[in-house]
């Protein structure tokens, strides 16, 4: 099974350790987590997958830190990237 790595306890995204196809089961590993989710999207190695539903306007957390804000509602198992998260620092899109 493909794996995704959680980097910190507070995180609501994990980093996939290999390319993942839409619909594939992904094992979430790291920090003693035991979770399996279905990927809703196709995503490449090292891209982010949502561990929880992230409502529009909520912080996206990776490394235990804020890396951006959800611009739409992001369901669990979704690809989290420039189409649905925006920087809190400069610009965005």
């Amino acid at each position: 099974m493909k794996k995704a790595l959680v980097l910190a306890e507070k995180d609501n995204v994990a980093v996939v350790l290999d390319d993942v196809i839409s619909g594939e089961k992904v094992e979430i590993a790291g920090l003693g987590t035991q979770d399996i989710l279905h990927s809703r999207d196709t995503l490449n190695l090292a891209h982010k997958i949502a561990l929880l539903d992230i409502p529009k306007g909520e912080a996206v957390l990776k490394y235990g830190e804020v890396i951006g804000i959800a611009v739409n509602d992001i369901p669990r198992g979704s690809h989290v990237h420039i189409h649905n998260i925006q920087s809190t620092r400069i610009g965005g899109h």
Binding site: V15, N44, L45, E65, V66, V80, H81, S87
Partner: protein, 386 residues
């Protein structure tokens, strides 16, 4: 890690070289062609052609001049031959370089017979200098003599979870040995400033960190720039980095976890040992140039999707944790840490792997980009030429 040091070139100013070249330096870009021709002819020399150097003013000129002198002062150059259009700029630069105790000779196109005159005299002087510097032998030097420049380029989202943290552990190890580490690319501190500020030696350094990152935020805002697609770049984005914070939080890991002793200007040498930050932009060639001008005698260059470029004066070890890059760009990556994401390599083992390469490269093993001559030099501009 039983070794306590490496064989290096001890210089008159007590800096240590991991290499021993004659630096043939173009004070300005109109001397680039004769410098390159000379360095092709003289085995054991390097052409140092940083670009520009004429018609610059104010802070832009000061940065350029400081950096040219800094490059000439790098301990990997045993001596220098500075060539310019006219004699004054060559003389000033050579004088700055001689403060290290090394020889710096000069030639000018105007006074020394034009292109062919400079070529002929350059061959004579260059040969004599290389005869002299190659007499020096390596002697026992210590990891406390290392000045490590850390760079990331062609990053992707593997960088922050493999190559960068492994390099960060090497950074920590070097500081623990009494050595120096310099990390730069302030745009890639944005989103992670609070982490760096927490580690500042004192409030002055903390303020300097904020000010430095803030400068790049102001520049972006004044120009109405969106950082997205400038930094992170299109290849960073394709590699999974979504925002500058996402990139920065991974990028700063290459500097390790030690106290930050100060914030250096572009090409400025640190006053003491330990971990320093430097105000040098993220573009790889300009950044490596700044680190070399600041005295780095070794570089660790972490990459995700790969930016193969290296640096001629200072050996640059390329590290990647992206298994696709390892497979597709094997001519360009020195240390493979893709096992971290593959679950077959711990970060501690990756640190050890990199340190083994540090030990062999400082002693003379070449890096892949060194062998291919895939190296470039460029000093950043911060102003308009007139």
């Amino acid at each position: 890690m039983e070794k306590s040091g490496f064989p290096g070139y001890r210089r008159p100013d007590n800096q240590v070289g991991t290499r021993n070249f004659l630096g043939i330096i173009a004070a300005m870009d109109n001397a680039n062609p004769v410098v390159r021709t000379l360095s092709r002819l003289l085995y054991g020399s390097l052409a140092v052609c940083p670009g520009f150097g004429r018609g610059q003013m104010g802070e832009d000129f000061k940065l350029h001049r400081r950096s040219v002198i800094g490059l000439g002062s790098n301990p990997n150059l045993g001596a220098c031959l500075v060539i310019s259009l006219e004699p004054d700029s060559a003389a000033e630069i050579a004088e700055g370089i001689r403060k290290t105790g090394k020889r710096a000779e000069t030639l000018s196109l105007q006074d020394d017979g034009g292109f062919i005159g400079v070529l002929a005299k350059g061959l004579e002087i260059g040969q004599e200098l290389i005869l002299q510097i190659t007499r020096q032998q390596r002697e026992i030097c210590y990891f406390s003599d290392l000045v490590l420049g850390v760079e990331c380029g062609g990053s992707d989202a593997t960088s922050g979870i493999s190559a960068n943290p492994a390099a960060g552990m090497v950074s920590d190890w070097i500081v623990e040995q009494g050595g120096t580490v310099i990390m730069s690319e302030p745009t890639e501190w944005i989103g992670a400033e609070h982490i760096l500020v927490r580690r500042a030696k004192d409030e002055i350094v903390a303020a300097a960190i904020q000010k430095c990152a803030g400068k790049y935020i102001s520049i972006a805002q004044e120009q109405g720039l969106e950082l997205l697609k400038n930094n992170p770049t299109l290849d960073n984005i394709a590699g999974g980095l979504s925002t500058i914070e996402d990139k920065a939080l991974g990028a700063i890991r290459k500097g390790g976890s030690k106290t930050i002793e100060g914030v250096l200007a572009y090409g400025e040498k640190p006053e003491g040992k330990g971990l320093y930050l430097m105000d040098a932009p993220a573009a790889a060639v300009e950044n490596l140039t700044a680190l070399a001008a600041g005295g780095a005698n070794l570089m660790l260059f972490c990459t995700g999707r790969s930016n193969p470029i290296g640096f001629s004066i200072v050996p640059t070890i390329k590290i990647s944790g992206n298994k696709k890059t390892i497979k597709n760009m094997s001519s360009d990556i020195d240390v493979d840490v893709s096992g971290i994401m593959g679950g077959t390599l711990t970060i501690e083992s990756a640190q050890e792997k990199i340190i083994q390469r540090v030990v062999s490269v400082t002693a003379g093993q070449m890096t892949k980009n060194e062998i291919l001559r895939n190296c470039e030099i460029s000093i950043s501009r911060i102003g308009q030429s007139i």
